[in-house]
Symmetry: none
DNA sequence: GATGAATGAGCTTTCATTCAT
DNA sequence: CATGAATGAAAGCTCATTCAT
């Protein structure tokens, strides 16, 4: 007995995360995962029931957490409304940083897997669902914005913007920067969008 | 019952485009393509030399076209500079519409394949290359913008924004709207970004 | 109608001979044959019923001829017996040359196909049969030779020598020399063996 | 029912040797090999990486051994020179027997595969290389023989004889005799050639 | 006569999964 | 706990042959 049970389980999970990030669930090779984890195919099945099983062991906590976050978003939202309206850059930054604290460095990779590589699993629709929610939320903000003139734009434009916005976030998460750097970038990126939308609309009125 | 050569060839190509869009080059199943096209594996090889061969038959014209577009971009760029500076929405819109005319309805799907599903082919790097160019180009615009203060942002932020921007475009192209609708959306989306960046920066100065 | 019927038939046969020589019947590619003959798969089947059919069209005349030669060999054999016994090099050479006249340049390639590449056809056993005959014939000569002491050698040695002898002939036929050169080489080679065997046995008596 | 690893691996190798001997590398059917070995295609790949892999597993040791033998041939050659000159049949026989001891029964089949069936592998040229060496070596012996008159014969005759000689060896190896019998035959065959050449030349002087 | 589209069986290889040891 | 042998389905591809045009 060379490696303790939990140790090996963790190692498999780590290598699985790496493989899922690189190739997504479907193209991920179990053989490669176990080889990198220093064990065998057979033994893998002592720890997990299937390829799907590792996938869910890895992703479900993050999935649930994201779902929970999204559901309770409106409440959290109130908090920063004032700062947002006044465009208080500093306050918002601090708020967002606090919000993401430790979240990204723990869950960032797995979030990417969920969005990018969940084809073939029960989480396939996550990106779509997330985008729907983001679009709704974004829409609400727009509706409260006086400068926003619905009739000028295609009704799907908000969902397109949401998709672009989300991709930026993923791009940050996918990069091999440190957790800290990722957080910094993320905040800047989010603020850019937040202010950008408002100002943009002002600009296009004419 | 025999089908005319060109008819079947086109059908194979159509089904291949569909399959490549859904699964990318590597995971695309030839058997599925031919089944949907109503023929057999063996017959497929009367029309194309290999899986790669169909892929390139489909993508190369679009690839070349995009490359050509990117190389000659700077020249085209000059044209709209005036309108852009003055934020003349109408003029710009017309210009962009003219630019994309017929382009999207013909090449949109294939462009998506090139960006999303070219792993395993010689076009793998297309997304990366395109993003590099977009980032450079975007950077240039920023450097000419007085309100842009480099020191305030992470050096990679522009490339993140470019990635988000590109994803929005892909999202439009991926949707099952009519070609006309896609063009409309695309123009709105591009303008939104164009003006957004300027205004956004103004907003963040404070 | 570009090519006359017989002309194309001949061309197919020529290219088939080339392909059969290079790869044997089984590995020979019909597609390559027709491509090189400047026609199509479909048209091939207007001239021949199958891959086997061309093979037999090419080989059967030679096969029959060789069989006939072998059956009537004993008669021909008498002719040179005197010269052989007296080791009259010149006379034998002329005799052999006369015997092979035009035979090699017409049938050499096809003979090689029959021996080397007939696997998968009804002529598979030709090499074996030929070797059996050659061995028998060779055995007869030996039995008439006083210096030959059966008990000294393995009973299969003659058949082995026959196999080696035949291979030399094939090697000559396979080379890309002119027909004339091949004939010359062949005669030298045959004489070498004829005299060699006699002298060899004398030498090994001790 | 499971079979021990080594047992099956050996069985696969044995059946592969059989298949390679019968059809050569290219036409050998993996399906047939595994069927005869009593396993499945899938399982084959637990033992070997590819069809090439089994081929090299089988042939490389023999290939290396033959190469080594050929390189060191000149040294070994000296030993028997005296006996050869004096045509001492007994001594030579013993020498050759010692030289091949155990070699043939272990490697004979595989040697045949290397010479006859290596098309499509990195050992394709082995027959050619071997013949070149044999011809060179044979040529040297001839040049030392006073009765040999170059001008009388075609320059390629030695290489033809070498080819015939090699084929005899292969014919012995291909037969389904016992290892011991093969060795005996081989020795007789080699000596026959050794003495034959000398005597033959003497005979043809006239 | 000529074309090449169509077929189906064969090929080697990869894979996730099961299970005897 | 661990091993890796075994399985079977699917992958991309080649081939000789048939047949509608």
């Amino acid at each position: 007995m060379q490696v303790l049970k939990e140790e090996l389980r963790d190692k498999i999970i780590q290598k699985a995360i790496k493989e899922f990030m690189e190739h997504g669930f479907e193209k991920a090779s179990l053989r490669k995962i176990v080889r990198e984890a220093g064990t065998t195919i057979g033994n893998f099945y002592n720890y997990f029931k299937s390829k799907e099983d590792v996938f869910y062991a890895i992703t479900t906590p993050v999935y649930d957490s994201v779902i929970h976050l999204m559901k309770n978003h409106s409440e959290n939202d109130e908090l920063d409304l004032e700062a947002y309206k006044n465009m208080n850059f500093k306050v918002l930054k601090q708020f967002i940083v606090g919000f993401f604290k430790n979240y990204i460095r723990d869950y960032g990779d797995i979030f990417v897997i969920l969005i990018d590589g969940s084809k073939g699993t029960r989480y396939v629709n996550m990106k779509e669902d997330l985008l729907t929610l983001m679009t709704e939320h974004f829409q609400e903000h727009l509706d409260e914005t006086p400068s926003w003139d619905k009739s000028l734009f295609h009704k799907d434009l908000p969902s397109i913007i949401a998709a672009g916005f989300l991709e930026g976030i993923l791009e940050i998460l996918r990069g091999d920067r440190s957790g800290e750097e990722k957080e910094g970038l993320l905040v800047e990126y989010i603020l850019l969008y937040a202010f950008g939308v408002i100002k943009m609309l002002d600009g296009m009125k004419a």
